[in-house]
Symmetry: C2
Subunit: 137 residues, 2 copies
């Protein structure tokens, strides 16, 4: 008889790191226009907001971080370059990070995106051996 372990979940979360280029400068110049988009992304992707902070740079430029029960979402804008740098990091259901990311692509309409998806805590196996069911083959 052989034993086989169930497929194990590796890591504690998914982190999408994205730089959006070619975004409308006026859209990303102010927290007034950016914050409703960010808040809507959190809501759309069913994430749990703990708090959010925004900062208006003078004359133009905006930053914000949303602390989530599932980790965080953050952005920083450079209207002079049409650039938004975005991070969406969630633990739990990995589709939530992807949903928030897709929502932001849809609303900010970058002409190009450079993105990386990273597993955080990738050495962690959330199913400790004592919780893994042995399956007889």
């Amino acid at each position: 008889m052989k034993l086989k372990w169930r497929m194990m979940k590796v890591g504690v979360g998914i982190h999408i790191i994205a730089d959006f280029y070619g975004v409308d400068s006026d859209l990303i110049a102010t927290t007034e226009r950016m914050s409703p988009i960010i808040e809507a992304a959190v809501e759309y992707s069913r994430l749990t907001k703990i708090s959010s902070d925004y900062y208006q740079f003078r004359p133009r430029g905006a930053s914000g971080v949303v602390l989530l029960a599932e980790s965080h979402l953050s952005f920083h804008t450079w209207p002079e370059y049409g650039l938004v740098t975005l991070d969406v990091y969630t633990c739990g259901d990995p589709t939530t990070a992807e949903d928030a990311f897709s929502f932001l692509v849809d609303k900010l309409k970058p002409t190009s995106v450079m993105t990386k998806k990273i597993t955080r805590g990738e050495l962690i196996n959330e199913n400790a051996p004592e919780n893994v069911e042995e399956i007889s083959l």
Copy 2:
């Protein structure tokens, strides 16, 4: 006569993404112990805090985000694994991110670290040609 351009700065910021393993569980279990370390890292590395938010998970676990004039610093802990996932993202002087990171390694004393250093907005050349000095050779 040839012309040579000065070395150009590429990107808008440096993002250090680090997962710390083997950290003392009690140290990372509470915002009460984590927040002074995070605030001290910001001060040590001469970063400019705009705001900070922390969240205490029950029974154990802590998260926090610091919005900086230079971007952000964030952490999330899993005391049950001795894990801290850390992000230090700064624009301007790249040594500030490295200083904050080194400070946190020193205070949290992980037994191992997995780290990536990413240039954010790497398609941006902050020295537009009109600002670049021509040097005769």
